[in-house]
């Protein structure tokens, strides 16, 4: 008889983990994985699959785990998802696959699909290289711009269908947000590196320090490659546009996380400096805000306060991250909006906020917040990290003749194919949707690859 209650992964204790950057969730051991796999009812209509943006055959890979056939599980999962070790860790499962699991309400909770995905993917990474599959080349070439999850997925699919793929990345390292945004304690960089090494081994070529729009232009790439995929993400940080925002000590979450993650400022031997705030305020409540707040805790802050203008229900972050942040001592000031950043001697000394209340739901069903008059109060702090969201970076548009862009700066694509206004130029991920999720970016990379293969691959 399978266990009734859902198994959760073990975590590093909050007291311990705030002192290190090691991964918080420790993953399943073999017995727990098997016990959790047993809980899957292998529903015929598999409602969980509908919740997955890339339609991973969830009951199939879980059945292999149940039957102790790990290689089978790996083969099944890899066929559907090119970055499972990443997705298992960062997908908002509670809003996707696990939300539709029939066990959710009445039968001990949804199956821990994310944790099982991670378990299978980590097994594969530990085991090392899979048997090489000989691929017949098509003689066709593809340029992939950016190296975030959208681009990596597209590159993998194209290369495995015989395309000669070159990835152009502005940074000195591949992975996009996976390396410069999401912190080590949530997604170890070793895992991302292994996934990328797999691509290199498949034959994908990487060109770093290459900014499309600057070093080369899209127009040039179109001349030299049969197909182009744009996966440049949404890297441009939004600010609050309030007084005091340019004071030293005010960071965008992108800058703060890049300094700490990509440039390893948490390591005492790193040479990229970052201010170690004592009293830190983070503005926002998405994954980015949680990551910034939890990073600040680990950088030795005495207190970290998260300021968000809506309520708990509206917080867009993954549930697990919200819980972890609270366990680690991050204080939430909800229904609170910053009005001004205060400075003393040219440095941040506090943040003035107003209390908010939620009004009637608007046409989209979201209740929009209003300031309560006379409710101003100050929070003392020496560092403010703004995590309000991002929009697409405009650099690519230099020398991209005829590429259609919306007024928000996102790239226009045909939703059925991923093709842009330019022939044989495709786009996907945050560059098209605005800041979204890893899995949606991967889905878009996969769709574009499929369209390119259908159009240009061997018939």
């Amino acid at each position: 008889m399978a266990d009734f209650l859902r198994h959760e992964m073990k975590n590093q204790s909050p007291e311990q983990r705030v002192k290190n950057f090691d991964e918080v969730a420790l993953g399943f051991d073999k017995a727990t994985a098997k016990a959790e796999a047993e809980r899957c009812l292998n529903c015929k209509n598999a409602p969980c699959r509908k919740g997955c943006p890339v339609g991973v055959n969830i009951p199939a890979f879980i059945s292999y785990v149940k039957n102790d056939d790990m290689d089978g599980a790996v083969a099944s999962l890899n066929g559907d998802n090119s970055l499972p070790a990443v997705c298992g860790r960062v997908c908002p499962q509670e809003r996707q696959c696990e939300r539709f699991c029939v066990r959710r309400e009445k039968a001990g909770g949804s199956v821990s699909i994310g944790a099982l995905e991670r378990y299978v993917a980590d097994y594969a990474l530990k085991k090392g290289k899979q048997q090489e599959r000989k691929v017949k080349t098509t003689g066709k070439t593809a340029a992939v711009i950016g190296s975030g999850p959208a681009s990596l997925t597209c590159a993998a699919d194209l290369q495995s269908h015989g395309f000669d793929v070159t990835v152009f990345e502005a940074f000195h390292k591949a992975g996009g947000v996976l390396v410069y945004g999401i912190p080590e304690f949530r997604l170890p960089k070793d895992i991302v590196k292994k996934e990328i090494d797999n691509l290199s081994e498949m034959g994908v070529k990487f060109r770093f320090d290459t900014i499309i729009g600057k070093t080369f232009t899209l127009d040039e790439l179109r001349k030299n490659f049969d197909a182009v995929f744009i996966g440049t993400g949404a890297g441009l940080p939004l600010f609050l546009k309030i007084k005091g925002e340019n004071l030293p000590g005010v960071y965008s979450a992108n800058e703060y996380l890049t300094r700490v993650n990509l440039m390893k400022a948490y390591d005492k031997n790193s040479i990229t400096p970052v201010q170690r705030g004592k009293h830190v305020v983070v503005v926002g409540a998405g994954n980015v805000a949680m990551d910034a707040a939890r990073t600040a805790v680990r950088m030795g802050a005495d207190d970290v306060t998260l300021v968000y203008r809506r309520g708990r229900e509206e917080m867009p972050a993954r549930r697990e991250e919200i819980i972890h942040a609270e366990e680690e001592g991050v204080k939430f000031e909800l229904l609170t909006n910053p009005a001004e950043i205060l400075g003393t001697d040219g440095k941040v000394s506090g943040i003035r906020c107003v209390r908010m209340e939620l009004g009637e739901p608007d046409s989209s069903g979201r209740r929009s917040p209003h300031a309560i008059e006379g409710s101003e109060f100050d929070i003392i702090c020496d560092q403010v990290i703004v995590a309000l969201g991002t929009s697409p970076n405009p650099l690519l548009r230099d020398g991209a003749t005829g590429l259609e862009i919306t007024s928000k700066g996102t790239i226009v694509v045909n939703p059925e194919t991923g093709e842009t206004s330019l022939e044989n130029v495709y786009a996907g991920g945050d560059a098209v949707t605005g800041a979204a999720t890893v899995i949606l970016a991967m889905g878009a990379g996969r769709l574009a690859a499929k369209s390119i293969i259908e159009k240009l691959g061997d018939k």
């Binding site: 000195h172 320090d209 070093t215 965008s252 890049t258």
Partner: protein, 276 residues
């Protein structure tokens, strides 16, 4: 990896490097910059493109040893490689619309006006140049400026070369003497650019400055390079580095640039064992 083809000492702590970077040279233009990392553990630091040769595939940068990374760079020799060299970044400077131009370079800032005077010269435009430094040994590109400038005025704090005084003294002198510039392009330390902008405001002369703010990515992703120009937030790395000097909030920029100085200092100590 990009190879250092040659390295020349300019002064006590300024070196010129010619670096093999065909992709950067191909599209480089005066006013743009690169971001480099010395080695695999290095931080990302911006440098102005002083010169480039598209055919030879080379880019020239001038490096003043001021902190940990520049010190590490100073330990590299001809034939050594640096880990990363990305560019060309930022917008190229376009002085085409001006006829009578004065270029002003303070200290290492002269490295930014050097490609400018060369470009103007190649277009058959004449321009005057004022350079300033603490003393003679810190004046750079002296022969080159002599060749390309209509008039070259050198200023030193101690009078060891040219005239004794600041670049602003010379500019005031020239303007009061009846020179009619329609554009002044000034590059140097922030306080110098601020002084130049304050001076020329009174004369109503268009003044362009090049903002060397703190950068991380150089592609508009982090906002660390942001500054206020005419009450708007602008990013030096993508909107600049050149801005209208009369609209830049220099005090804010000075405060932001000073912020990491203490951090830098502790790193220098680690490299030199406390000697600076």
């Amino acid at each position: 990896m990009n190879k250092i083809l040659s390295r020349k000492k300019f002064s006590e702590n300024v070196n010129e490097y010619v670096i093999s970077a065909p992709d950067v040279a191909r599209r480089a233009d005066a006013g743009q910059f690169v971001i480099l990392r010395v080695d695999e553990e290095g931080e990302r630091i911006p440098f102005t493109i002083c010169d480039f040769d598209r055919e030879a595939g080379t880019v020239t940068i001038l490096v003043q040893t001021v902190g940990y990374s520049t010190m590490k760079l100073a330990t590299l020799k001809e034939g050594d490689c640096i880990a990363d060299f990305a560019g060309p970044l930022g917008k190229a400077t376009d002085l085409d619309e001006y006829e009578n131009i004065l270029l002003v370079g303070g200290g290492i800032g002269s490295a930014v006006i050097y490609p400018q005077i060369k470009k103007l010269f190649s277009k058959g435009k004449k321009a005057d140049v004022v350079t300033g430094a603490r003393n003679e040994s810190l004046l750079i590109y002296r022969n080159e400026f002599k060749t390309y400038a209509r008039n070259l005025y050198e200023m030193t704090d101690d009078g060891s070369a040219g005239e004794k005084g600041f670049v602003t003294d010379k500019i005031r002198n020239l303007l009061d003497g009846g020179e009619r510039y329609d554009c002044i392009f000034a590059v140097g330390p922030l306080p110098m650019m601020k002084a130049v902008a304050n001076l020329t405001r009174g004369y109503g002369i268009k003044t362009i400055v090049s903002m060397n703010t703190v950068m991380v990515d150089g592609t508009g992703m982090c906002g660390s390079c942001r500054l206020t120009v005419g009450n708007e937030i602008r990013y030096a790395c993508v909107d600049g580095p050149e801005f209208d000097g009369h609209l830049v909030d220099f005090d804010e920029a000075i405060a932001r640039n000073g912020f990491y100085r203490d951090e830098e200092r502790s790193h220098v100590c680690r490299l030199t064992g406390g000697v600076r």
